[in-house]
């Protein structure tokens, strides 16, 4: 607990990286997100928790405009990244997504080689000036995602031939390789064993020194372990948002308390 309070103090003087004000999302008739206000701090891990279908993924996808690709989705409200409105018509979502990377809920490697999967982002963003540099990026990214040892001998093998958990880590490596400023991770550990989970959590902790990380998780323990801030969603609303220690020890809202003690969900 002492530990957590240290982290709390650390967080309080960070700046907001992403600010969301009154975000509403409709999927056709369905009102999936209701009036969400959140400030995601720089160099901080923020956990989104909440029961299934409460809108965690939906909100995450608002933050890098992936909802643009869903024809029925309508996003209202204001979201800023470093003070810039990301829904401004002059903003290029392609550039935004290079800065705000994402690991999806379901692993979705490209049907290309493992190497190509990781190298693709750096290639299209021109992050490597030479083949050697690209190799370097691929290797460090795979190492960060705790996959290097398993695949270093078969980088040319198809990424889709890996196991589910390996694919998920490949997707993490792919997202990390583009060096985003914010990394959105939608249940990155749902298909991983405890060892790989620990490694990914280590990675998240490491990334915190440079980036903001937003992680959606169904594991209270994981949220408590890796995050400094926690947001609890319920039925499309943001119920409570605060320091992770405070949310897990003295939740203000009865629904939060019910969820983290396992009575709703």
């Amino acid at each position: 607990m002492n530990d957590m309070r240290l982290v709390e103090r650390d967080v309080s003087n960070r700046q907001a990286k992403i600010e969301a004000r009154g975000v509403q999302v409709h999927y056709g008739e369905k009102h999936a997100l209701k009036d969400v206000d959140v400030a995601i701090l720089d160099r901080t891990v923020t956990a989104f928790i909440g029961p299934s279908g409460c809108g965690k993924s939906t909100f995450l996808r608002c933050l890098n405009r992936m909802n643009d690709t869903v024809a029925s989705a309508k996003v209202a409200g204001r979201i800023t990244l470093d003070g810039q409105d990301i829904y401004d018509p002059r903003i290029d979502p392609v550039q935004l997504r290079a800065k705000v990377g994402m690991v999806f809920q379901k692993p979705n490697p490209f049907p290309k080689s493992i190497y190509e999967n990781v190298a693709y982002g750096p290639k299209i963003h021109g992050l490597a000036r030479s083949k050697a540099e690209l190799d370097e990026i691929v290797e460090t990214s795979l190492k960060k995602a705790a996959l290097w040892n398993e695949v270093k001998d078969r980088l040319a093998a198809p990424g889709t031939g890996l196991s589910g958990g390996q694919q998920q880590r490949l997707c993490i490596a792919r997202a990390v390789a583009t060096a985003p400023e914010v990394l959105l991770m939608d249940e990155p550990c749902s298909a991983l064993d405890p060892i790989a989970t620990a490694q990914v959590e280590e990675l998240i902790d490491e990334l915190r020194s440079q980036f903001s990380v937003v992680i959606v998780t169904h594991s209270m323990q994981q949220a408590a372990r890796v995050s400094q801030k926690t947001a609890f969603f319920h039925l499309g609303s943001l119920v409570e948002y605060g320091e992770t220690g405070q949310i897990f020890t003295t939740p203000q809202d009865p629904r939060t308390e019910a969820y983290i003690t396992g009575r709703i969900g």
């Binding site: 690709t69 935004l96 997504r97 049907p111 693709y120």
Partner: protein, 450 residues
């Protein structure tokens, strides 16, 4: 989950697993019937296909062999080069009539020299056993190489269609009695010639390479012009339709907004695919020939008309292939900041490629068999000159196409053309099979799993 089954009424679960319940038996019976229908349908279609192929093969295979008479000819300078100076321009004044006389005389002399019994066949009838195509070929040969004058050359001349038909079983002595073009004695002589090895049935390259011939000379007619025409058209159709079709599909699938206008375009593309082909023929006649003034009967106009017909098919196939690319791949690419263009060219097209290829080749294959619109733009004309090479404006020259050749031969009166027509169908089928195999191979080659 568990409490639901616990709360549900307890079914009779007794009895051995080896004997099915009444319910399972009914289900099995239904399944069995479904399978039986399926097998029945397949057997029926295979039987029909078999009958069709067998008929075509039986009628058409003989077109690939041709009764040919081989004998030596002395190219007599007195006939072919009256001026005696071996000048091809002056030699060209001698028409095929002169060469016909030359051939007939040489043939008669050869028969006498070989000691073949020509009883009952007057000398004129002997010469008439040779196709009129022979003199023309000999003339071309001599004009191309004047040094042959005065030499003895070995010529292979087609026998007339009747003799050819006799050797293939189409003409009998009974029909010859009633036929003004052949006598039973000529048929007897044909038997002798076969025995002497003068009359043979070699593989008929002329059928694949030669141009069409008139009603009077079925033995000389070939598919050369039709094959060139079809080839030109296929290449042009591919050049016209693939870029346009793929570009249109990519735009409609990936970039176009979903609104009334694009809905309307979609519906119309599907409708265009269902428009009868003859309508496209009328359209082509009006636009390409009457309005734009492109030459009639040319492979260019044929290709344009067929492109119009094939385009909707290709667009529909391509869009289906693009749509089949899993959305998760799109999300993955967009999620790491790929642009629309990069998404399309790096991820969607490679994955859709096998589908696009198959769709395109099948579209081209059906275009290859298209006949009706070509009739309207004049490609059914009787063309005996080869079109020029593809880079010398050959696509503007009159040509025919394989299916049209099938149609025009099938409508001629001489029964010898029935065989030719079926033979042409076999050639067409071979081309179609090659294209379909190519489609399968390409599909295998490009297929990737995800």
């Amino acid at each position: 989950m568990t409490d639901v089954t616990a709360g549900a009424p307890e079914r009779a679960r007794g009895g051995s697993l080896l004997e099915g319940s009444a319910r399972t038996k009914r289900r099995r019976a239904r399944e069995w019937r479904m399978k039986a229908y399926g097998i029945g349908a397949i057997v029926l279609s295979l039987a029909t296909l078999f009958v069709m192929l067998a008929t075509i093969l039986m009628d058409g295979v003989s077109a690939f062999r041709q009764a040919t008479i081989t004998f030596p000819v002395t190219v007599d300078a007195v006939i072919v080069d009256k001026a005696g100076n071996r000048n091809p321009e002056e030699m060209a004044k001698v028409t095929t009539i002169g060469y016909k006389r030359l051939l007939s005389q040489a043939f008669v002399a050869h028969l006498a020299a070989e000691g073949i019994d020509t009883a009952g066949v007057p000398e004129k009838d002997l010469g008439d056993m040779l196709s009129d195509d022979g003199p023309a070929r000999l003339r071309d040969r001599v004009l191309a190489d004047p040094s042959l004058v005065g030499q003895v050359v070995e010529v292979s001349v087609y026998a007339t269609g009747r003799i050819d038909g006799y050797l293939k079983g189409r003409v009998t002595r009974a029909t010859a009695e009633r036929d003004t073009n052949v006598t039973p004695e000529q048929l007897d002589l044909a038997d002798n010639l076969v025995a002497a090895g003068i009359l043979t049935m070699p593989f008929n390259w002329g059928f694949l390479t030669g141009p069409d011939a008139s009603d009077l000379r079925p033995e000389a007619s070939g598919l050369g012009v039709a094959i060139i025409g079809s080839l030109y058209m296929m290449v042009l159709v591919a050049i016209f339709t693939v870029p346009v079709g793929v570009a249109a599909s990519i735009y409609l699938e990936e970039f176009a907004p979903k609104n009334r206008l694009t809905d309307l375009i979609e519906v119309n593309i599907s409708n265009l695919a269902a428009v009868p082909s003859i309508v496209f023929g009328i359209l082509g006649l009006a636009i390409f020939i009457n309005f734009m003034g492109l030459p009639q009967s040319s492979s260019l106009v044929g290709a344009l008309v067929i492109s119009l017909m094939t385009l909707p098919t290709i667009i529909i196939a391509t869009r289906a292939a693009i749509r089949a690319v899993p959305p998760s791949i799109r999300e993955a690419a967009l999620g790491i900041g790929a642009s629309k263009m990069q998404l399309v060219f790096h991820h969607v097209l490679p994955l859709a490629m096998p589908g696009i290829m198959t769709g395109t080749i099948l579209g081209l294959a059906s275009a290859l068999g298209e006949t009706a619109p070509l009739l309207l733009i004049g490609m059914v004309a009787f063309v005996t000159n080869y079109p020029a090479g593809p880079f010398e404006g050959g696509v503007m020259d009159p040509a025919t196409a394989l299916p049209v050749q099938v149609y025009s031969w099938a409508s001629r009166s001489d029964p010898a053309f029935i065989e030719r027509s079926s033979g042409a169908i076999i050639v067409l089928l071979v081309f179609l099979v090659i294209m379909n195999v190519a489609a399968i191979l390409l599909r295998r080659r490009f297929e990737r799993r995800w």
